[in-house]
């Protein structure tokens, strides 16, 4: 799992420093202007300029002055209750039955010999639940209102003092409540499935003559070796992503429950900068890979990667400061891919006057390298004089300090990104992280319901389904459109791609039709189309970003800041779809 820097922005940073509030405001402003212009043009055609303007102004006034203030909780509750009853009597619980069947036969298609079974199980239940609940939200929300309109039941609703705001809110709340109930059931079953799936016990099958080492029985396609210290306590090696605590009581050696597979690490990230071989700051080296996720530092030089941490608190740690590294190596020696590349980690105060000793390491590629340093009695230097250091008193008195990594081997390079070094604070309970993963799914479901209800205010059921699916698809593949517009995805826009097919022209080459003006025209039209799609894709939810299954599966605590951001995004779409729905409900003839 690779975390991108924006995933660990704080809520405040995202909202104000990264301009999320401004972007949201601009989006609302653009949509409001577009909505006003479209509404005015329609009213102009129907009623003429003066009357048309008055009609649109009246509509906007009524939203804020009449309909929002007079929206009744009881009426919303009535429509929501009805939506719940409707869903239940239409046998929505079938979804739960389908899910039960899916997990009953999970053993057929989940590999029990996988390297990280817990990760596989968690990904499976979260992904399955995610798709099922999104589909549920889609069908519930898209068909209800059109069905009422088609069966004319809506006549007996809108001839009561029911406001458009209540029609929208009641349905969104009702269907969300149904989805929540289903999600709670699926969540409880999923949790049991994961916990029981990874639960296993080993027996000791071999022990060395001195009783210091041993081997466990094979369970769930793996076994462990273990070591015991003089006090009779020990731990197994890590296999399949977990370890076991081993204890000796009397003559009996007991292998405890697995640890480390169902966890929620709490990473604390810093911001990364680089220095070059002469010690001057630079952007880090590119060793020729297309992916620029990681930047490299040169070995045996002043080239270094420096993380600045701004808020590390003693209360987050026990006796040790644990950190994880995912450093990669780029070798320039020919023929030797075995000898590990080495580096050192140094902790230092912000002014550089206090520096820890060097902690050497050998790069464990494609693995998380977990290490710890003591918080007290740390060897190091104060004003270049050897000293015993207290980490939080000497190096990070106000929680601020730096971590520097250098590569020790000449002509070798170490690669890292911002998220490749982090401290592990006291972990959160797995069940809570699992719950947060489900809250993410819930937010996605609510967004789908909001869009479904919005489309159902002016489209028939099947068309509303197609429109909502389009939003979901664009939400999942919006990055692709973005890539084409920015030129990072090859092949050109829709017209160029369409021409390339019969010409069997490779997407990596420039389009050559032998007619430069024609080629320019095609690119110009493509650009216009793609920019329109890009604007649209900016206005629709990015379901890739909203998905947090990887956090749970990879045992990383889902940051409160990230979840709060998703909650804000969800609320933004709720407002947006609510306002659009209001105008459609207000202006459509229910009996037409």
């Amino acid at each position: 799992m690779r975390l991108s820097p924006e995933q660990f922005w704080t809520y405040f940073e995202w909202m104000f420093e990264r301009n999320a509030l401004l972007q949201g405001f601009l989006l609302v402003l653009i949509l409001a202007v577009v909505g006003f212009v479209v509404g005015f043009v329609i009213a102009l055609i129907k009623h003429g300029p003066a009357e048309g303007f008055l009609q649109v102004a009246k509509l906007i006034r009524e939203l804020f002055v009449v309909d929002i203030p007079k929206t009744s909780i009881r009426r919303i509750g009535a429509i929501a209750r009805l939506a719940i009853k409707e869903a239940i009597r239409k046998k929505v619980l079938v979804v739960v039955a389908v899910f039960i069947v899916a997990i009953m036969f999970a053993g057929w298609y989940l590999d029990p010999q996988a390297q990280y079974p817990a990760r596989l199980y968690i990904s499976f239940v979260l992904t399955t639940t995610n798709y099922m609940v999104i589909l549920l939200g889609l069908f519930l929300s898209c068909f209800s209102l059109p069905s009422d309109i088609k069966s004319k039941i809506i006549y007996t609703i809108v001839t009561k003092p029911v406001r458009p705001t209540e029609l929208f809110l009641g349905r969104v709340i009702g269907f969300s409540a149904v989805g929540t109930m289903i999600l709670l059931l699926l969540g409880a079953m999923s949790y049991q499935f994961v916990v029981r799936g990874v639960d296993h016990k080993h027996e000791v099958v071999a022990i060395s003559a001195d009783g210091g080492t041993g081997e466990t029985s094979i369970q769930q396609f793996h076994s462990h070796t273990f070591t015991l210290d003089d006090s009779g306590e020990g731990v197994t090696n890590e296999t399949k992503g977990h370890k076991h605590i081993v204890t000796k009581s009397g003559d009996k050696i007991v292998v405890g429950d697995s640890t480390g597979d169902l966890e929620a690490r709490v990473p604390i990230y810093g911001s990364l900068r680089f220095t070059g071989r002469d010690g001057e700051e630079n952007a880090g080296l590119n060793v020729g890979y297309m992916s620029e996720y990681q930047k490299y530092i040169e070995g045996d030089s002043l080239s270094s990667a420096i993380w600045t941490f701004k808020d590390l608190r003693p209360s987050s740690f026990d006796k040790e400061l644990t950190y994880d590294m995912t450093i990669s190596a780029f070798r320039t020696y020919k023929g030797d891919i075995v000898t590990p590349v080495g580096g050192v980690v140094v902790f230092r105060s912000m002014d550089g006057s206090v520096v820890s000793e060097r902690f050497p390491f050998k790069v464990k590629e494609f693995q998380v390298d977990q290490r710890s340093i003591p918080l007290t009695g740390l060897k190091g230097f104060r004003n270049e004089q050897p000293a015993d250091l207290d980490f939080f008193k000497d190096i990070a008195p106000d929680g601020k300090f730096e971590v520097m990594i250098r590569c020790q081997d000449r002509s070798q390079y170490l690669g890292m990104a911002s998220a490749d070094f982090y401290f592990r604070a006291r972990p959160m309970p797995f069940w809570w992280n699992f719950t947060k993963g489900y809250i993410s799914i819930w937010l996605q479901m609510v967004i789908v319901i909001c869009f479904g209800v919005m489309f159902s205010t002016f489209l028939s059921g099947p068309v509303a389904v197609i429109a909502t699916i389009s939003i979901i698809v664009l939400g999942f593949f919006g990055f692709f459109v973005d890539g084409i517009v920015k030129g990072t995805t090859e092949g050109g826009g829709p017209i160029e791609a369409f021409i390339r097919i019969p010409l069997q022209s490779g997407s990596g080459t420039e389009l050559d039709l032998g007619n430069v003006p024609l080629e320019k025209s095609i690119r110009f039209v493509d650009k216009a189309i793609l920019l329109s799609v890009q604007v649209l894709s900016q206005a629709i939810p990015n379901f890739i970003q909203l998905g947090t299954a990887d956090f749970v599966a990879y045992g990383v605590n889902l940051f409160g800041g990230l979840l709060s951001r998703h909650l804000t995004i969800c609320f933004g779409y709720f407002l947006l779809t609510g306002i659009i729905s209001y105008f459609f409900l207000k202006t459509r003839e229910m009996a037409a």
Binding site: D67, S72, R74, R75, G77, A78, R81, L82, K85, E86, R89, S151, K152, I153, I154, Y155, T156, I157, V158, T159, K160, P161, V162, R163, E589, M590, A591, A592
Partner: protein, 308 residues
């Protein structure tokens, strides 16, 4: 058994603007297709008023514009021309619905709810507190005679029962103005009579009723005034008794006359240069006959008819 009484004159002045419940001014509706092309000119320049306390009938054949008029008054459709006002407010104003009850031509209700749930749901839409909803639902279930079916889902109801629960939902808010679209459709003669009696009782309670029907007998029985529509145009508007009165024909109802007296009456008419059109015994209506038989059967179960 309740009896149908003759329509009475509304006890209010028709010239007082506060007594006008519904007013349409030059109201027109053209149905258009997706491309905006004119399909049907359903209603043309309708000017009518429905006054407080009266039963106003909208009469006309299928496609005459009755339902369109009602939908425009309820805000279910928007007028192409003119305007409709209900309680002095624009017909599209949601606030007017607080004082309106509407029974559609078919009972468009949620079939998965039972009678109690249905009335509770519509009560909530009027923002009624729970105790008031329960009380009102109980009253209405008694009134429409659905006590034994109150817990059955509406999908199990007969057409008559569905009509009755439809009426109950229209009355849940004790409306001042009741719009009834074909209220007797699907009802048997007893149900029809009960519905007509109920309509008259509601008027006696001070409610204003707009009734749309093509059952001419129903309209004649209960309406104070009628508007007759045809092809979207208002063809006639006035009091029922006035419209039905044949001005140059005199009707005398007498009892216990012998043949000689009858002949003297005929002679008198001839001497007065009048024309004797008909003199015979009156017949009752089929509705009266049917209700008499059912009433008799209720009182003496098991008795069979002798045939004629």
């Amino acid at each position: 058994m309740a009896t149908t009484t003759a329509p009475t004159t509304p006890s209010v002045s028709s010239t007082d603007p506060t007594n006008v419940i519904v007013e349409t001014r030059n109201l027109g509706k053209i149905y258009r297709d997706f491309w905006g092309r004119k399909k049907v000119n359903a209603l043309k320049s309708l000017d009518i008023e429905v006054r407080r306390g009266e039963i106003f009938g909208l009469l006309g054949p299928n496609g005459s514009g009755k339902s369109t008029t009602i939908k425009l008054m309820l805000g279910l459709l928007f007028p192409t021309s003119g305007r409709a006002f209900v309680f002095g407010k624009d017909a599209t104003d949601v606030a007017k619905n607080e004082r309106i009850g509407y029974l559609p031509e078919e009972s468009y209700l949620y079939k998965f709810l039972n009678a109690e749930e249905t009335l509770d749901f519509y009560g909530r839409l009027f923002d009624m507190p729970a105790s008031v909803r329960r009380e009102r639902a109980e009253e209405l279930i008694q009134m429409v005679g659905l006590q034994r079916a109150r817990r059955r889902q509406l999908k199990e109801y007969s057409k008559g029962m569905t009509r009755r629960i439809g009426l109950a939902q229209a009355l849940i808010n004790e409306p001042e103005f009741l719009v009834l679209d074909e209220p007797t459709t699907g009802l048997d003669p007893i149900g029809t009579r009960e519905m007509k009696d109920l309509i008259l009782r509601l008027r006696e309670q001070g409610k204003t009723i707009l009734l749309c029907s093509h059952q001419l007998a129903d309209v004649q029985d209960v309406c104070d005034r009628v508007a007759i529509l045809h092809q979207g145009e208002l063809k006639e508007l006035g009091r029922v008794d006035t419209l039905l009165k044949v001005q140059d024909v005199t009707q005398i109802h007498a009892k216990g006359l012998d043949e000689k007296t009858k002949q003297e009456i005929k002679d008198l008419i001839a001497r007065s240069s009048g024309e004797m059109l008909r003199m015979d015994n009156p017949t009752t209506t089929m509705e009266e006959l049917f209700l008499e038989i059912v009433r008799d059967s209720d009182q003496r179960p098991g008795r069979r008819g002798s045939g004629a």
